[in-house]
């Protein structure tokens, strides 16, 4: 038990003293999560809306694809993104290997199916005829979309939190595409790997505490909103 106590007290010391590196890593993690989620939302929300609104053949296939994409192995996606960015490959000219933009590409690709699938299933869960009614009243595509997303906001929020959470927690693609370069492309989660391999268990414990706190805060927000809206939309627990 003494080992555990030492590690925890040393970790809390580091957090309490405002360790600059820990702060910078936390900020980088948030930056990565926010930017990649924003890009995924920009493209994924309209697409999810389209797939959720129409139940004809092609949208349904698209939805199946998005659902399947939820489980894509991040390390496998990471290795192919990393290849694409190598000199001599299609995106090699950008010189993005082991940089933050490369990480953003990988995390956006991972977040994209989440946003599309969760948005589509939220829109599909709206009362039948609601959107037809809006169309009958002459609402434009844009207005109908905004209306549908507002009605399905719990599902959309679930998608946002899931995308943020995935970017915060993920290490496979982060390490492969970003190289886990300390001070440049490491996130909170991947710093645990760095600190462990650098025989710095106290530092890794500090990362662990901050990471878990971040995840709990994200989850707490989601639970709070879901509870508040519970009467309107019953979400299956599995969707978180």
């Amino acid at each position: 038990m003494r080992f555990l106590g030492e590690m925890l007290s040393e970790a809390f010391n580091q957090i309490g003293s405002g360790n600059a590196e820990l702060l910078a890593t936390t900020w980088r993690t948030l930056e990565l999560a926010l930017i990649s989620t924003a890009i995924a939302l920009l493209v994924g929300l309209p697409l999810g809306l389209l797939l959720g609104e129409r139940a004809t053949r092609w949208p349904r296939r698209g939805l199946v694809l998005a659902n399947a994409g939820l489980g894509i192995p991040p390390v496998a996606l990471g290795i192919y993104v990393a290849f694409l960015l190598l000199p001599g490959w299609p995106l090699g000219g950008l010189r993005w290997t082991y940089t933050l933009p490369a990480l953003i590409i990988a995390q956006t690709l991972l977040a994209f199916p989440l946003v599309v699938a969760l948005t589509a299933s939220a829109v599909r869960g709206l009362p039948a005829g609601l959107l037809d009614q809006a169309r009958a009243f002459g609402a434009s595509w844009w207005h109908r979309g905004v209306f549908a997303l507002r009605e399905a906001r719990v599902g959309v929020l679930t998608a946002i939190i899931a995308a943020l959470g995935s970017a915060v927690a993920e290490v496979g693609a982060v390490v492969i595409v970003g190289g886990n370069v300390r001070g440049r492309t490491n996130t909170l989660a991947s710093t645990i790997l760095l600190d462990i391999s650098a025989s710095n268990p106290a530092g890794a414990t500090a990362d662990l505490i901050v990471l878990v706190a971040l995840v709990l805060v994200l989850g707490g927000i989601l639970t709070f909103v879901q509870q508040r809206e519970r009467g309107r939309h019953r979400l299956a627990v599995a969707r978180t």
Partner: protein
Amino acid sequence: MSALAGDLLPTTLRTLRVGFESTAIAVGLGIPAGAALGLGRFRGRGPLLAVANAGIRMPPVAVGMALWLLMYPTSVWGGGPLSGLDWLYTTSAVILAQSLLALPIVIALTAAATQRVPNDLLDQARAFGAGTFASALLALREARIGVLAAVTAALGTALVSFGAVTIVGSSLGDATLATAALVQWGAGGHDGQAAATGAVLIGMFLVIAALLTALQQERGPATVVVRPG
């Protein structure tokens, strides 16, 4: 030495073995627990479900790091509480970590699936004299699509999640899994092997995804999120 230099076949087989064993453990514990949470009416049920749901979101590296602290071998500072097992950097530790990652998925999805079984049906069964155990079995059979989806999602997680594996196992040597080997790509010189390992993982993913899709067509859960790596 890069782990990618090793043979692809043993790594693939080891990945499958660890995946199936951890899923089996998670299913063995998780289905009874999930059914109890989905069907039971006892105090503390809500908080326990919340813990299972929070568990799904817990990053694999966090689970791995916590296990690492618990299993740290005896040293000048003493050891972790589980140091007696002597499991750190062995396949047993990897299986334990992957089971812990898969467990909340099985529990939460099984609970959600059994909750959707109509209450009338279970009341009727009880009226005909079915005990708690028999009516739970009936509920699980009625919710079988959702339970199968839970098992598949757990298997997906156990196969593709990498964060915990690399901390409590070792990325090098005989215990390497496909995911962990792939992350060694940065060590250089094995592009072909990395592409092949990636293809193996994508192949496993396609099988899991096809299974889940088929289950969803059968009116399973609308979306099943597999844990990020």
